[in-house]
């Protein structure tokens, strides 16, 4: 029995291994996800080059056709080419994802910072409000906002999704801000007459950005998922505006005719993109934690 085994048996904490030469900062970097996601985004950006058909053209002679040489991914129940629709509609899905996240992050940053800096009573009030906000069924809020905006388009749907998904980021920001609000540099800045937004930009934001990056990426994922779910349920984009969600809203009809390609193909793209976002988000979370433990 070697000395090392003996120690392990007795239960002494094993000697820490000699420090590795240099752990690359890119260790565990999700290469595959980043490449895949960039590929999908690029293809969507240059959809016009890739498209073989007009994605909104209703080809009534060739509806519900299984994938073949002419229609690479087949056609849907209205006779639209799915291959072209994927790229064209992906653009809209991804736009909504980023736009909604931008909106929700902006709200969260302002709300969270105000709540973090505010006196205790206001802070409690604001946090209670987020709790109540979170317990109102999301479906009701979405329907209410939709009803105000009328027929949904890309912008209104982004606003609806953004406005309903800021609360959890705001809570994290508020906790972070509360920890640093009394540090000398913030006080100094205040004494020199720094306005709220100046302090937010120069002092608060750089501190909490690492801890919310993961949540922001997850928010993009959530927004793209919400778009598809809402459009599928008939509460999001109408059929004429092509997105992955509105393409999937034809699924019920597709089930009746056993046309698997209408359901599987747009869904597969959706899931791939969401998976890439998750991997990137997880990497960011680990990266943020790694930083903390070094301090």
């Amino acid at each position: 029995m070697t000395e090392k085994e003996l120690f392990t048996m007795v239960g002494i904490r094993p000697e820490p291994a000699a420090p590795k030469k240099k752990v690359s900062r890119l260790k565990g970097f999700p290469w595959i996800s980043v490449v895949l996601m960039s590929a999908i985004i690029l293809c969507c950006l240059f959809a016009e080059v890739l498209m073989t058909k007009d994605p909104s053209y209703l080809d009534l002679k060739n509806f519900n056709i299984a994938p073949n040489a002419e229609f690479l991914f087949g056609t849907d129940t209205l006779g639209r080419d799915i291959f072209s629709g994927i790229w064209y509609g992906g653009r809209i899905s991804i736009t909504i994802g980023f736009l909604a996240t931008l909106i929700s992050t902006l709200i969260a940053v302002v709300y969270g910072s105000v709540s973090g800096i505010a006196p205790a009573w206001l802070d409690t009030l604001m946090m209670r409000f987020t709790e109540i906000f979170l317990s109102v069924p999301g479906l009701l809020l979405v329907l209410f906002l939709q009803a105000i905006f009328g027929e949904a388009n890309v912008l209104t749907l982004s606003i609806v999704i953004g406005v309903t998904s800021w609360a959890s980021i705001a809570k994290v920001i508020r906790t972070e801000v509360r920890q640093i609000r009394n540090s000398e540099y913030v006080v100094a800045s205040k004494c020199m007459g720094g306005k709220f937004f100046h302090i937010l930009r120069k002092h608060l934001a750089p501190n909490f950005i690492a801890s919310i990056m993961f949540m922001v990426v997850m928010n993009v994922r959530g927004a793209i998922g919400s778009e598809s779910t809402l459009s599928f349920m008939g509460m999001g984009l109408p059929l004429e505006i092509i997105s992955w969600g509105s393409m999937l809203s034809l699924s019920e009809k597709a089930l009746l005719t056993d046309s698997w390609w209408i359901i599987i193909i747009p869904g597969a793209f959706l899931v791939t993109l969401l998976m890439c976002l998750t991997n990137i988000g997880n990497y960011l979370r680990k990266a943020a934690n790694r930083k903390e433990s070094n301090l």
Binding site: M127, S135, V136, P137, L139, L143, N219, F232, L248, M275
Partner: protein, 334 residues
């Protein structure tokens, strides 16, 4: 510092009542202010043939012409007497409509919740036991993939595979016509929705268990146990698992409404006649009275379960600030 239990629970109860009150006002206003004609759901197509006067009379009869705060006060007065009004769409007492449906959701959500609770525990322990071995890695990868799949799409794929292609299971409803009392028939209809409910939540909780257990295995008392000669099994189940169980239970308490109440999409896709599908319908057709009660039910459940979770947690570990648990639980919704 010892707290007076009456003050402690009184405070909690007060917060609970206040939240419920604000919530009811909010939901009431939101649902009344949302554009859309409730007469449509009451009279259906006939509305279009009604004259302006008839419409006015109908609005008066249903009390839709009063200012909103009067409507609200009237609603509260009636609700206190147990009268929640009638559903515009079903022309029945709201409670009756809900009563017919709630059993279906409780069965679906309840069984789903128990399966998720037990399944997540087993999976989490399995992953922690085989940390970084292939079992753990495969489960982690699979779980991440699963958590990325939108609920409705997974439902569609399962219907496509098991109902349309293989003809093994029915694709919609809670039972076939004429088989109302046939338990087997009902179970058949329950399988696919149940799979969706469980898969939707399973990995989040399993992953949480795994991480908590891994954190626990790095504690010093594990070394002590090891040096005492305890086996891996004994340490894992008698000590580590026991330490994380209380916090798991409190988190599961908070998650009751997510799992049991979060069945809108599954029920709609599978045309399962439960509360979720009913809420969706009532919101779309402006069935105010019904919507109001349904929203209040879910929200009260959410607030109540959060409270229970907080109390459990404060009892177990007084250092934990009440809010922290809630925060971790909400990451799921992102």
């Amino acid at each position: 510092m010892k707290k007076n239990p009456f003050v402690y629970y009184g405070k909690k109860a007060l917060v609970f009542l206040l939240s419920v009150f604000i919530l009811s006002v909010a939901v009431f206003y939101i649902s009344r202010l949302a554009p859309g004609d409730p007469l449509m759901s009451y009279y259906g197509e006939r509305v279009e043939k009604m004259s302006v006067e008839e419409k006015e009379a109908a609005r008066d009869k249903l009390g839709l012409n009063d200012p909103i705060h009067i409507q609200y006060i009237r609603w509260v007065e009636n609700a206190a007497k147990g009268d929640f009004g009638i559903s515009f769409k079903y022309k029945q007492d709201v409670m009756e409509v809900i009563g017919q449906r709630i059993g279906f959701t409780l069965i679906l959500g309840g069984i789903g919740f128990v399966l998720t609770f037990v399944g997540a525990l087993l999976l989490g322990v399995l992953c922690a036991w085989y940390e970084d071995k292939w079992v753990d890695r495969i489960l982690c990868k699979g779980g991440t993939l699963l958590s990325c799949i939108p609920e409705f799409w997974l439902s569609l794929v399962l219907i496509l595979v098991f109902a349309v292609t293989l003809h093994w299971l029915p694709s919609s409803g809670a039972y076939d016509i004429g088989y109302k009392d046939d338990v087997l028939n009902r179970i058949e209809h329950l399988i696919l929705p149940l799979i969706i409910v469980v898969l939707q939540h399973l990995w989040y909780y399993a992953y949480m268990i795994r991480n908590k257990l891994l954190e626990e295995t790095r504690a010093d008392y594990v070394l002590l146990g090891k040096s005492k000669g305890l086996s891996k099994k004994e340490i894992m189940f008698k000590h580590c698992l026991r330490n994380i169980l209380p916090s798991y239970i409190s988190i599961m308490a908070i998650s009751v409404p997510h799992v049991v109440g979060g069945t809108y999409i599954v029920e709609t896709v599978f045309s399962y006649p439960g509360i979720g599908a009913l809420s969706y319908e009532s919101a779309r057709y402006h069935d105010y009275n019904l919507l109001m009660v349904l929203c209040m039910m879910t929200s009260i459940l959410v607030i109540f379960c959060n409270l229970i979770g907080q109390i459990i947690n404060e009892k177990i570990d007084p250092r934990i600030k009440a809010n922290e648990v809630v925060e971790t639980s909400e990451v799921t919704k992102v």
